[in-house]
Symmetry: C2
Subunit: 290 residues, 2 copies
């Protein structure tokens, strides 16, 4: 049997791949199916919706908690990224999660680790340009987590829409025997997409952030009215700056599945409008579509 | 049940991942273990030794046959690479193989495939320099084959020693639940390492090729006598050219596990002597060690 610690929330936690596999093997021996929801902790209702979705599809749900250093650039917020394992465990337990996998960095990247998974195509734009080392870091850790847990279903949020397409791509291309599910974005009352990084915002910044989703709603409506893609993108950038954002990395209308470019004329067919913008030192992303 | 063609040799062959998985699942349901020996066909006694080794460790042995285009550079011999599926199947059957997995290029690389597995460190020298696109191609196809078949054990020949270390590395780093086994080099009567590319050699070239292993034997003996690594490497390069090789890509003494550099002074500890050299348009590799 795996070595299970009990956190105050009574959610079992394992810290090694061997213990994770032992628990999954025990479930499989009982004929149970397994879901996985990878997280970096600092959990909010968006993460819990992933756990609940996984529960509707599988008998047992594992949540992983690992703040993955390789998907942060040196100047990004790896050190500052919020960490509260006990609080996260209590939230996961409340959402019906069955097991927390919370490995240390040495367990995930032992000395000598030197393999990277890279995805071209869907990473060639947007966050792939703004954060060049980000998606190789994501693709590698997700490949590892999927192989470590070997779930039937893995659930990822659509808030990180480009990441979701990267993960769908690598799972197909590397023949991982898992179903990748996307889960809808969970939003605050004013429509702001829930994000662990929202915790960085002060009151004034939080008010500005609340405008982000409204500008995308209006941008999507303009695309539906056959306004040219390039005009909508330029309009949304200007609106974000007017709203108080300090810098806009991108606003782009793309095909949902392969994130191909639309426009410059009116968008044809399914469209996703994706954006990233900064308020002070905080970078927010959001997206919206069919 | 999978869709099994029978070749004239009566060896069942599957051509899709779905059929491969169906057969492996059927075996697993009977409690049988599974071994995999990936090949590019043009089989010789070296490959058959891998099948036999896999049989000593597992109940059922799958051989894959796929000439992987992504591990050949444009100027290399992908088109000319020898192909004889019926002959290969007969040899595999004679060695006790249970199933041939022989997919087409479209099955392995469907439209849109855009994921690559890269390994640094062990690929930073020798064939990783001489053939820059080679190991990413190997690492990606092997990751795919291991995920497609999900064997308990996979066997690779030590003739491609650097490749073996790349595969050990990616299997560990990506947490593939498989044991990677190396199999000793099988040699002709004069000591030439068996290789599908030996078929390219004419009689005169074949005689020159037979000197390759003897020079490595003597090089290794010199390393054992505490001759400086850099002197042994330079001596071996000169000997190969004297023997009639037209060009030497490298002769290098390395640590076996991580292929780290030894020398320039006498070699300390376990040592592998690896070399690549050309006769006419044919490139041969060999290695020897503790």
């Amino acid at each position: 049997m795996p070595d299970l610690d009990l956190l105050p929330s009574d959610l079992p936690v394992v810290r090694t791949v061997a213990d994770l596999r032992a628990q999954v093997r025990a479930w499989r021996a009982q004929g149970l199916t397994v879901g996985l929801t990878p997280t970096m902790g600092a959990l909010h209702e968006g993460h819990l919706s992933l756990v609940r979705l996984a529960r509707t599809r599988t008998d047992r749900v594992v949540a992983s908690l690992f703040v993955n250093p390789t998907q942060f650039a040196p100047h990004e917020d790896f050190e500052a990224y919020p960490r509260d394992e006990a609080g996260d465990a209590a939230l996961l337990a409340s959402a019906g999660c069955h097991l927390l996998f919370a490995p240390g960095v040495e367990e995930m990247y032992p000395a000598g680790a030197s393999t990277t998974v890279t995805v071209t195509g869907v990473t060639a734009s947007m966050d792939g340009l703004a954060r060049p080392s980000h998606f190789p870091g994501v693709a590698t850790i997700v490949t590892k987590l999927l192989n470590q847990c070997a779930p039937d279903v893995a659930v990822f949020g659509e808030k990180d829409f480009q990441q979701l397409q990267v993960i769908r791509r690598l799972a197909a291309d590397l023949d991982l025997p898992v179903e990748i599910m996307g889960a809808p974005i969970v939003r605050a009352a004013d429509g702001l997409a829930l994000s662990s990084r929202n915790a960085y915002l002060d009151t004034e910044q939080r008010a500005i952030a609340g405008r982000f989703n409204l500008i995308l709603v209006e941008g999507l409506a303009r695309l539906r009215r056959d306004v040219a893609v390039s005009d909508v993108e330029a309009w949304a950038v200007a609106e974000l700056l007017t709203a108080g954002f300090d810098r806009v990395d991108y606003v782009e209308a793309r095909t949902p599945a392969d994130l191909g470019r639309l426009g410059p004329g009116p968008a044809q067919g399914p469209t996703r409008l994706l954006a990233a913008a900064h308020i002070g030192r905080t970078r927010l992303i959001d997206n919206m579509g069919d």
